[in-house]
Symmetry: C2
Subunit: 304 residues, 2 copies
């Protein structure tokens, strides 16, 4: 039994109104894997890096209990690199550099030891690669969560729609839900997307929280209002990792557990934005997480 996270492990260079970083570790599998590792102890990642990737960073994953057997290291090649600059409102950003490097021909290898996968997190990545991972697992996982973004809707929509048919949960943001469905109303967008494959849809709204839909119900959680948002990079991946990590921990899939998973995902994401890159999400204690989750309870609870 394990939670397998597939996605990117990469370098990011980030500029926000608060400062800028040189190349630091980033990527959807890094954030989602680290986030999930606080909730579940059998997290395994599938990704590819070049030999410019530091062993100390891999040691860091391992120190969090993350199995990196599925992390391919390509000799003589470079890791995926993204550079971006956030605008003053922190909600929009410009991409300055996207060097695919090793990602250009990523062929995901699933180690035999990963075939016990019960929970599969398809982190943001080419839909075709996400699909390949599903196909290479000999047994269909109990739960498949797929994260994606508008970029893939623009350049690989057919692959994305094919992959969507194979998953249980899709996590996207509000604009992406509108783009994918062609519906402005999120209620109508959700109804449409739930006919495309997933049984559950999570709509991430950043500072406005998140929505969870199945065909009968809807649940909404606010985001924790924060005095400072230092760097939003990776918050969506961290959310997804916390979401599936919580479900793996409790071990049963139903709407009530999904609601709590939304809270855990939101709580972990609220840490992520407090520092540059994955710095904060690398250094959390269980006490901090429990306390943050309690803040969410206090934030949303009322007696009527």
């Amino acid at each position: 039994m394990s939670l397998v996270v597939i996605g990117t492990v990469a370098f990011d260079a980030i500029e926000t109104p608060f400062g800028k970083t040189d190349k630091i570790v980033g990527g959807s599998a890094s954030y989602a894997g680290l986030s999930a590792s606080y909730l579940y102890d059998k997290v395994k990642i599938v990704a590819v890096v070049g030999d410019d990737f530091h062993q100390t960073e891999i040691d860091d994953f391992n120190a969090h209990g993350i199995n990196t057997e599925g992390l391919q290291i390509k000799k003589g090649e470079k890791s995926f690199f993204w550079a971006g600059k956030y605008h003053n409102d922190m909600n929009t950003r410009d991409t300055l550099v996207t060097d695919l490097n090793v990602l250009a021909d990523f062929d995901p290898i699933i180690p035999d030891s990963y075939q016990d996968c019960e929970y599969l997190m398809l982190g943001n990545l080419t839909p075709q690669v996400q699909q390949t991972v599903i196909k290479r697992l000999t047994k269909r996982p109990k739960l498949i969560v797929m994260d994606t973004m508008n970029f893939w809707m623009n350049i690989a929509l057919d692959d994305l729609l094919d992959t969507l048919k194979m998953v249980d949960v899709l996590t996207i943001n509000d604009e992406e839900a509108r783009q994918l469905s062609g519906e402005y109303s999120l209620v109508k967008a959700a109804a449409k997307i739930l006919t495309m494959g997933p049984k559950y849809l999570v709509i991430k709204k950043g500072e406005h929280g998140a929505l969870l839909f199945d065909k009968d119900s809807v649940f909404a959680t606010p985001a924790l209002p924060l005095a400072e948002v230092f760097d939003p990079t990776g918050a969506g991946d961290t959310f997804a990792g916390g979401f599936i990590g919580y479900l793996a921990k409790v071990g049963s899939i139903n709407f009530n557990n999904m609601k709590n998973a939304l809270i855990y995902g939101s709580a972990l994401a609220s840490f992520c934005v407090e520092k540059f890159g994955p710095e904060r999400i690398k250094n959390l204690t269980q006490e901090e997480i429990t306390e943050r989750v309690q803040q969410f309870v206090k934030l949303s609870k009322f007696e009527l």
Copy 2:
């Protein structure tokens, strides 16, 4: 003991992607008064109209148990008129016409029978007129809630800041909170605004719900995700009316009751947008309101 609502009673002509109306009843006191009337039976309004205002509309207010003794009717003058057109996303609109008419020299008269005011709702209006109403009440109400908008921040900021010192609760939207405080983060904005007079701040975020702040706590409620938003006109006023109406009903002011007031305000606002103008908010049953509030409970409740 009564709940006095001051604001505009007016005509609106509204165009949305779903259609357009001729002159229909609008105004902050109309929406807030009607909304509050479902929760509290002693609602009294202070406003001014011209003699173009129909008696049937006044009868409508009275039929909702609303006392209109404080509604001045100016002979030979015209009612305030606003015309606006909503864009496709329904979140932004253009103002096409603003004819102040009777509002230009509105001198609010407080009938003696209104001096039992315990709850005062200062609906969206010139801050100077809002302030005059407070001064003309012989006894300071138990609770004063002030609604306002960016327009007054632009043209009457000093009056607005003066009035703010005299109130308990301010309700504004997120952009207005940012404008008033000069802070982008709503947490910082709230901290600053809570030094300007009010003990409580409600930030209305439309489709993203609402936030309630006092100096120690924050509470967030989502908005009900809706398949159709037909016409957002008056939703903020309806929210404010439901908010203070609930507090008048329960009769004691504390953070927990404010949280529930936020839910009731949100529930009533969610009806308002379902039809043009105040049509829906004029025709509600207690059963519909109870059911809608239960939808909010279901929407936000989780067990952790």
